[in-house]
Subunit: 138 residues, 2 copies
């Protein structure tokens, strides 16, 4: 079986304690700030560097999944890879025994179809696929 190729690292998701401080840090690191998205349980700072994105998550609820992740370890929460055909990629991974969190793609922060693969199937790294258009930028 020829896997659907990964065409890039789409983004890194990082859990932080204080988003405002982390935003200042990531600006100084040279990433381009794209604004904040607010959700009931989390605030997310969006950054860009070339075609790569960084998402900084501040959990609002310490008992949420992200809140527990922050208490337990913090830092990089997930890695997202860009593919051109997410449905075929998910079907192939499931057939090969990967534990999928989403069997069907959902729409992610960037308005693109995304799906998560369980960290237990990826040597401890929560892994996301993001479908980017075949004709260009992600």
């Amino acid at each position: 079986m020829v896997p659907v190729p990964v065409v890039g690292i789409h983004h890194i998701g990082i859990v932080v304690e204080n988003l405002d401080e982390a935003i200042e840090t990531y600006k100084k690191l040279g990433l381009t700030f794209d604004g904040i998205k607010e959700f009931p349980h989390t605030r997310i700072g969006l950054f860009r560097g070339g075609e790569g994105h960084v998402e900084l998550f501040e959990p609002k609820d310490p008992e949420s999944d992200l809140g527990r992740f922050l208490r337990k370890r913090g830092g990089v929460h997930h890695v997202a890879y860009a593919v051109h055909d997410i449905r075929t990629a998910l079907a192939q991974l499931e057939q090969q025994g990967f534990e999928l969190i989403h069997r069907e793609p959902v729409i992610g922060l960037h308005g693109l179809p995304v799906a998560f693969v369980h960290h237990k199937s990826c040597h401890g790294v929560l892994t996301e696929l993001v479908e980017v258009p075949a004709d260009g930028g992600h």
Copy 2:
């Protein structure tokens, strides 16, 4: 101060217990395998997806830094960002109080100048800069 811009996510470094198994997993995820590098204290599996790279580290010595990292948490060990001018970037970061692991760049796995910034200065994420040529691919 205008920071030296990040022009892409160059690579992710991941610490794994069993490199041979992890290589099979990352092939199935759709990344392109670029071979193994052997060092006294670690074996490294190199992957590529578009312009992004993934490095899988298997510590040989449980008492090494990577060995302790694996016992303590495992998973993503560092994130590396591509810049065109690493010396200016390092000088700026130091001036702004970032704790640098390398004040001068060293040559990394890909034959490019690299330097690490301490995870305490980057909200828990060990962060690497990689100098890529301004005229193209990384």
